[in-house]
């Protein structure tokens, strides 16, 4: 039986304004019928181009300049228009990253689903019936209602499910997925991935999964390929590739991840020095040589041949030395670590709530949140969409006003709600680093202006003192003086975020709110930024409120964690205690939603969607999806959060009966009508 997808020596070039950029060089791999292949790469590696090339939907500027692509044994180049259409109608499907944009906003879901059957030649009525049943198979509740809806009326998770339904409705031989879950919440992502796996098992479809997320790829695919600068540098079975990588880049990538219970006390994260080469640079020798610890003159002169380690191929002259590769970057912190002091609290919130008015409707984004943050302490804020974590950040920093009855205290003294009303000292004390540096840095200003202006306004510095402080700050975030004259568009994502951090630290803050500061960055860059943040914390005794959806990162950085769901504080306590358990059922689901490399964990599946904050469920807001729901009490009465102890959990289930993770004792969820035994 011929392979589902076979790529041989593929080279793709983009032509832009008179310049040629070779985006993919000599890429070859095979996906057997029914197999699953994962492609891993950071931004700029060319992975999306590979997906588009595989289906011959490259944009106008792109061309396949060498090599071939075969689907089911057929060379794509040899197909005429009608044959290509038939291939697309019956054999191959593709699902992209942004589900909202992949659906036609002017047609109903039903109509768009019916199109899949239309090209198969089925009559209209039959198409509609089968469409409805397909929607049921992707676990969409009320398929008829969804069929009559328009795309904008569905949530992101539902939209992606619809696209998967459309993709699998034709029972294709090959399914191509390009970052299918980026942008979805963790629990929704877990659902979608499970769905794909189970449908794949049922239908025997081959899978080509492209992602920057190594964990997902490892979990879903039998074989993995690693793409760097347009070259497939490693290719092998996922288990061996992740356990024992043979290419320095893969090893570097794996080491960048905060993994398996790693904490900042264990030392710095490793990073990969330097930057990937721009696509229009002609590279002689190994593409990774300039960033590689093992590189020598030979590497820079001659491109490495593929080295085979029993089905596990790596493009490296020194592949056998990779397992013993030492750390590329320093292990110790630059300043001695400062132990966090939880008491007395530096920052305190009491019953903080925020209600927005959207049209005539009241949306309660945050409900009675009470937290405390000590000096040199990191508080991790965890939650999915609608949890209120961004609202909390905005309230703390003074961009919005809390509802009456809530209070924020800094050093024991009450803090003005709005930043404008706060004293300069208070404004200096609380700063924020935003998620997206393209939005957070004024693209019309130079780096000097961006940081210098803050020094002028908050510290009142001018002239030489200002220059000195500017230089200091630059050094603190590892930027060089020549960056001062540049504008954001000339800097990479990591550099821009460093500028944003320098700006936040310009006023010597006591507390810095970090709102997903690394979510938009590549894994290797993320590690560098996280290291920087910890360095700065040790040097300046700064405290952080660190918001993230990535539990691995939160576990690494945070001393304490607050888990938010629908604007309510569900759990609050020391990091390790929360991870080990006993913990809240929602936390349990979140933890199980994170696929870990290697270790298979029993996935807790949450039913339904996150409820809308406009109409929160009565009683415990989590009861509609809780797999450990006790019964009527959960629907009637909202559990109280007892903040007297170290570790607070908002749940009716008595603590001894709450779930723990593998490290502790594992307890199965109670059946619906059981009474908990103590």
């Amino acid at each position: 039986m011929s392979a589902s997808l076979s790529v041989e020596g593929l080279e793709v070039t983009y032509r832009a304004r008179g310049r040629d950029q070779r985006v993919l060089r000599d890429v070859s791999f095979t996906i057997p019928a029914g197999g699953a292949y994962g492609l891993v790469g950071e931004s700029g590696s060319g992975k999306s181009t590979l997906a588009l090339a595989a289906l011959d939907v490259l944009p106008r500027a792109g061309q396949i300049t060498a090599g071939r692509v075969r689907i089911g044994g057929e060379d794509l180049r040899g197909l005429d228009g009608a044959a290509l259409r038939r291939l697309r109608a019956r054999q191959v499907s593709m699902v992209f990253q942004d589900p909202a944009r992949a659906l036609n906003p002017t047609l109903t879901i039903g109509r768009q689903m019916a199109e899949v059957y239309e090209v198969l030649g089925l009559p209209r009525a039959e198409g509609e019936t089968r469409a409805a049943s397909m929607l049921g198979r992707v676990r969409i509740a009320a398929p008829q209602r969804v069929m009559a809806s328009y795309p904008h009326q569905l949530s992101g998770g539902q939209q992606q499910r619809v696209l998967i339904a459309m993709a699998l409705a034709k029972e294709p031989e090959l399914l191509v997925l390009d970052e299918p879950t980026t942008g979805l919440d963790a629990t929704v992502e877990a659902e979608v991935l499970d769905l794909i796996t189970s449908l794949r098992d049922e239908l025997g479809t081959a899978l080509f999964l492209i992602s920057h997320n190594l964990r997902i790829v490892g979990r879903m695919c039998e074989r993995v390929g690693v793409l760097y600068a347009g070259t497939l540098v490693e290719d092998g079975p996922s288990e061996t590739l992740f356990a024992n990588p043979r290419h320095p880049y893969t090893r570097g990538l794996l080491r960048c991840l905060p993994e398996a219970g790693r904490r900042k006390e264990n030392g710095r994260l490793e990073t990969i020095p330097g930057f990937p080469p721009p696509p229009d640079r002609r590279i002689v020798g190994c593409v990774f040589a300039e960033r590689c610890l093992l590189a020598d003159a030979h590497c820079r002169a001659v491109a490495p041949p593929p080295r085979d380690f029993g089905g596990h191929v790596a493009l490296c002259h020194h592949a056998e030395r990779v397992p013993d590769l030492a750390r590329a970057t320093a292990d110790a912190w630059t300043a001695p670590p400062v132990p966090p002091a939880h008491l007395p609290p530096l920052l305190e919130t009491r019953d903080l709530s925020k209600t927005y008015r959207d049209g005539g409707v009241a949306v309660r984004a945050l409900s009675d949140v009470s937290l405390a943050l000590g000096s040199a302490e990191t508080l991790g804020l965890v939650g999915e969409s609608g949890s209120g974590k961004t609202t909390l950040a905005r309230l703390l920093v003074g961009l919005a006003e809390p509802d009456a009855g809530g209070a924020i205290r800094l050093d024991g003294a009450p803090l003005e709600a709005r930043a404008r009303g706060r004293s300069v000292a208070a404004r200096k004390a609380l700063q924020i680093v935003f998620q997206n540096p393209d939005s957070a840095l004024n693209r019309a200003h130079t780096v000097r202006h961006l940081i210098g202006r803050v020094l002028g306004r908050l510290e009142g510095l001018t002239g030489k003192t200002r220059e000195r402080r500017l230089t200091e700050l630059l050094a603190a975030v590892r930027l060089e003086k020549r960056h001062l004259g540049q504008r954001p568009r000339q800097l990479s994502g990591g550099l821009k975020q460093r500028v944003a951090i320098a700006r936040a630290f310009a006023g010597d803050p006591r507390i810095v709110i970090c709102d997903e500061p690394t979510s938009a960055l590549d894994v290797s860059v993320q590690a560098a930024i996280l290291n920087l943040l910890v360095d700065l914390q040790h040097e300046r005794r700064a405290s952080y409120v660190f918001i993230s959806h990535d539990l691995g990162v939160v576990r690494y950085l945070a001393d304490r964690i607050a888990v938010l769901y629908l604007g309510r504080l569900m759990e609050y306590g020391p990091t390790e205690e929360i991870f080990r358990g006993p913990h809240h059922p929602y936390t349990e689901a979140l933890l199980s939603a994170v696929p870990t490399l290697g270790a298979g964990r029993e996935r807790i599946r949450l039913e339904g969607e996150i409820p809308s904050p406009v109409a929160p469920p009565p009683g415990c807001v989590f009861h509609t999806r809780c797999p450990r729901k006790l019964g009527a009490v959960c629907e009637r009465e909202e559990p109280k959060l007892d903040l007297s102890g170290e570790h607070a959990i908002r749940c009716h289930i008595p603590r001894a009966a709450l779930p723990r993770s593998r490290d502790g004792q594992m307890r199965a969820p109670l059946a619906r009508n059981d009474v908990p035994t103590l």
Partner: protein, 298 residues
């Protein structure tokens, strides 16, 4: 010298080799502009007429106002390249000098409109509130009437004069430009750098002019150039109708109105060259605007 400073001095740079990542793929806006055919074509035409307006009177072969009743309506010849009009005046000289008035009035009106409009748009977009609502209503009203008709109304009431024309066109342009600027400002306001500015205590004026304005300059520039084309269009039309530039100016619109009656008799040169001049100028300005738009969108 604090402990912090000494620590940062020894901080290892091995972790991230700092290099400027030159955005080598995307060309800068200047490069796009330089390569833009429409920009240079438009610029050339406008440049030519600007020169004609400035230096014309000195360089033309005949006095544009000198009548010669012996040679009325003479066709184009070696002596009179574009022929003569009903009063024997040399058309070529009149066409060259005729660029002066329109190239004074239209740009002035546009500048007035741009300054007023940009300020209104910035304020409306950033400050919002009642001001923005009222601004919106005014825009709605002024947009519902064609510019020419509003101009006619005002010019009838106040009497036609160049100053009035400048003010009317400028004031009617202002809300329309404000609308474009406002939309751009709303887009910027949603970005985090505005929040960051508020957090460090910048006042509204600083945010509008130091933070936001530089980022909306592009759309403002494109809009201004496009409006200039429309200003020329309107001033020429008003002159044609008798409500714009007044005689004895050799303005093109005025000339066409004066000589329109004779074309049935076959004296096409009395209006054709003025018509061509008008067309070339407005097209030139529009090409310029399009070139700028292309560079901006890059």
């Amino acid at each position: 010298m604090s402990a912090e400073q000494s620590v940062s001095a020894v901080r290892p740079l091995a972790e991230t080799k700092q290099e400027v990542l030159e955005d080598s793929q995307a060309p800068t806006r200047w490069e796009v502009l330089r390569r833009s055919g429409t920009f240079w074509a438009g610029g050339g035409i406008v440049g030519f007429w600007a020169l004609a307006a400035l230096l014309g009177p000195r360089l033309v072969p005949w006095d544009p106002y000198a009548t010669d009743l012996l040679h009325e309506l003479a066709p184009p010849s070696a002596a009179h390249w574009f022929g003569t009009d009903q009063l024997g005046r040399d058309i070529f000289s009149r066409v060259i000098v005729g660029s002066r008035d329109i190239l004074t009035i239209a740009p002035l009106a546009t500048l007035l409109g741009t300054f007023a409009g940009a300020t209104l748009g910035l304020a409306g977009g950033y400050l919002g509130g009642l001001f923005d609502i009222i601004l919106g209503r005014i825009i709605e009203v002024l947009v519902s009437l064609p510019l020419i008709i509003v101009a006619l109304l005002v010019l009838v009431a106040l009497g036609p004069s160049s100053v009035t024309v400048v003010i009317v066109i400028g004031l009617v342009f202002a809300p329309v430009i404000a609308r474009t600027v406002r939309a751009a400002v709303l887009g910027e306001r949603a970005l985090d750098y505005v929040a960051a500015a508020e957090l460090r205590g910048e006042n509204a004026l600083a945010i509008m002019f130091v933070e936001i304005l530089p980022n909306v300059m592009g759309p403002v520039l494109v809009e201004t150039t496009a409006r200039l084309g429309y200003a020329i269009f309107t001033v020429a039309s008003l002159s044609f109708l008798g409500f714009g530039i007044q005689p004895p100016s050799p303005d093109w619109g005025l000339t066409i109105a004066e000589n329109y009656g004779v074309i049935a008799g076959g004296y096409w040169w009395a209006v054709a060259f003025d018509a061509a001049a008008t067309a070339s100028l407005v097209v030139g300005v529009n090409l310029l605007a399009d070139g700028l738009y292309g560079a901006l969108a890059a």
